[in-house]
């Protein structure tokens, strides 16, 4: 790849060591939160929303 292209809207260059993706961590934690809630919800949909399954 060619060297860094600074876009016109770049107000500051942030290098590897200065960048700490905390916002990404927050978004990923929110996503895992949503996934966990959906899994719990799925339990209700599958097991409590239906009759018992008879295993023969």
């Amino acid at each position: 790849m060619v060297p860094t292209m600074s876009g016109e809207n770049t107000v500051r260059e942030i290098g590897h060591d200065e960048f700490d993706p905390k916002g990404t961590l927050v978004l990923i934690l929110v996503y895992f939160g949503v996934l966990s809630v959906m899994w719990v919800f799925m339990y209700f949909v599958e097991f409590l929303g239906n009759d018992l399954t008879v295993l023969v």
Partner: protein
């Protein structure tokens, strides 16, 4: 994108005009398939919800097959070869070795597509016995006209030759640069094509050894479970074949558009290696309810599938971190306030971000599909199309369309016809898919089947836990209509871009990663090693199930009659002829 485009740098077209012509041709083939596929998609959405029935329900499977094949074979794969040609030539910074060879594989892919499409559309013409109403999942006992299988075979051979073209370029580059690491885009192209070579073993055997001779009448019967299993051997990794172009764009183009740099080149490489290794030995998870495959094999496939979440979650982190880097370079601050600093008015950026957001939702429904016990709840319901319209239908399709807004000026030296229309288009897609996919998922939970022209039955009603089935149908129909409008806006915008004036110096160089390839071990670039391990994993996952299927049913199966999808038209032609004949005979014979 005009203000960002005039960088003074040469475009891809300036540097490689011959290759740019191939890329444009491949992309146009893709867009034509997309537009046709969207017409069939609209007919389907309005038909099954009983909003508007333009066709006879017996033609529904012709429409469904055309929609499926045009979208997930033609649209996605033509775009892939166009994008991969661009990425290979750009990243190795050298033209292809033989442009005639490149046009040859493109020509083969076009010829194969035309054959398959003629076979499918023949289903609308009762006067002919050509038909292929076998859906995208074209395994036995459904039988298509030989033209369909022949077309598919030629198309796949075209993709193999395309892969060889990329490898050829890489080897030529490597001979001149023996100590260099493979550039990231080149690496992504090569690992994806190696995965494709592994995956297509299944479909090549299924089509060439069984389905084609069977449809030609050389065999009376084949083993349906064997062809189903060989289909899914390919049918799951093909979803990653659709997805990898989107990943390539998220990793290598999106950070630049966001104003930042890719967070980590090595993580990108790890992700593509994981897809090469894990994409194929999972296909049996599509066959959880198939009798004839032991539960143990299904459990192994489920475990492998869950491992596949890893590269996608790695991607979620790397791509979002790269975008955050862009936002912070643009002056964004705060834990989430940086999101406001992003270029949301740029359709390429917004489209790719919305596609990624929907992929996150698709990740959840994918986990439900992959779980063996919960899968039984949604298997063969419309939940499943709801899922894959989030993944291939949005994560892939919307990314490819959005990226075109960025890529097209690089291939034509012309500005996009309208940026605001582009922005509206990606947002309409997102809203339309939100409605349609939500309705499909919820209907699936109520047990409403997929692949059904008239999912309504006498004396039986689907019970909705909340809302009503008619509300969901309306949601589905409105969503489908919005998606159709969005597709037309996209194709028209690109077509009209041909009328904008030629510009020069609008090249957009891609930014360098924050963590470069030098931070990764060289073994990552050992493609022979990863290819070898991928083959071993496939043998481990498939040898015993296939042996057991063949052992029980034989290669040519336990005798299931074919269900030729040409019976209807033949009957329709023969019956009136016989009627006329009988009338003629009746008038002569007293």
């Amino acid at each position: 994108m005009s203000e960002q485009l005039e960088s003074g740098a040469p475009t891809f077209l300036d540097k490689f005009p011959d290759e740019a012509a191939v890329v444009r041709a491949a992309l146009w083939s893709s867009f034509i398939a997309l537009a046709l596929g969207a017409v069939f998609g609209l007919i389907q959405a309005l038909h099954r919800t009983d909003v508007l029935r333009l066709i006879d329900s017996t033609d529904y499977y012709t429409v469904l097959t055309a929609h499926g094949v045009l979208m997930v074979v033609s649209f996605t794969i033509f775009f892939l070869v166009g994008l991969f040609t661009w990425a290979t030539v750009r990243s190795f910074d050298r033209g292809v070795e033989s442009i005639r060879y490149t046009w040859t594989w493109y020509g083969l892919m076009v010829a194969g597509t035309l054959m398959a499409v003629v076979a499918i559309l023949g289903g609308f013409v009762p006067q002919t016995d050509i038909s292929a109403d076998v859906l995208f999942t074209f395994y036995a006992p459904m039988q298509a006209h030989p033209l369909f299988y022949g077309g598919l075979a030629i198309f796949v051979i075209g993709t193999w030759l395309a892969g060889a073209d990329y490898i050829w370029t890489w080897r030529a580059w490597a001979a001149e640069n023996p100590d260099e690491r493979i550039p990231l885009q080149g690496f992504m192209v090569l690992t994806t094509m190696l995965m494709w070579y592994v995956a297509t073993i299944g479909i090549a055997i299924a089509v060439v050894a069984f389905l084609l001779p069977w449809s030609l009448g050389l065999f009376d019967q084949i083993n349906p479970l064997l062809t189903r299993t060989l289909f899914w051997f390919w049918g799951h990794p093909v979803v990653y074949f659709w997805l990898m172009p989107a990943y390539l764009l998220w990793y290598t183009v999106l950070p630049t558009i966001a104003g930042g740099r890719l967070f980590s080149d090595p993580l990108g490489r790890v992700v593509f290696v994981l897809f090469l290794l894990l994409s194929t030995p999972v296909g049996i998870h599509h066959q959880y309810v198939d009798p004839g495959i032991a539960e143990g094999f299904k459990t192994i496939a489920m475990t492998n599938t869950m491992f596949l979440l890893l590269p996608s979650l790695l991607t979620a982190f790397t791509v979002v971190a790269s975008v955050e880097h862009g936002a912070r370079q643009r002056g964004g601050t705060g834990l989430l306030g940086w999101l406001r600093a992003l270029p949301w008015r740029n359709p390429a950026f917004t489209g790719m971000m919305l596609a990624g957001l929907m992929f996150a939702a698709g990740g959840f429904s994918g986990m439900i599909n992959a779980g063996m016990n919960i899968n039984y709840l949604v298997h063969n319901t419309i939940w499943v199309p709801g899922h894959f319209h989030l993944t291939v239908g949005t994560a892939v399709a919307l990314t490819l369309m959005a990226a075109t807004y960025w890529l097209w000026p690089q291939l034509t030296n012309r500005r996009l016809y309208s940026r605001p229309i582009g922005l509206a288009q990606v947002v309409i897609w997102f809203v339309g898919m939100g409605l349609m996919s939500n309705a499909m998922h919820v209907q699936g939970l109520f047990g409403i089947p997929r692949r059904t022209a008239e999912p309504q039955y006498e004396g039986f009603d689907f019970v909705a836990s909340f809302g009503s089935v008619s509300e969901l149908n309306l949601q589905l129909a409105i969503g489908g209509t919005l998606l159709f409008i969005s597709t037309m806006l996209f194709v028209t915008n690109i077509a009209l871009s041909a009328g904008t004036p030629k510009l020069s110096g609008i090249g957009q160089p891609l930014s360098e990663p924050l963590s470069t390839v030098d931070d990764s071990p060289e073994i990552l670039d050992n493609l022979k090693l990863w290819f070898g391990i991928a083959l071993v994993l496939v043998v481990l996952a498939y040898a015993l199930p296939l042996a057991s299927i063949i052992d029980r049913g034989g290669l040519l199966g336990p005798g299931v009659d074919p269900v030729p999808m040409i019976v209807e038209p033949v009957a329709a032609t023969i019956e009136p002829t016989l009627g006329r004949l009988a009338a003629a005979v009746g008038s002569v014979v007293p």
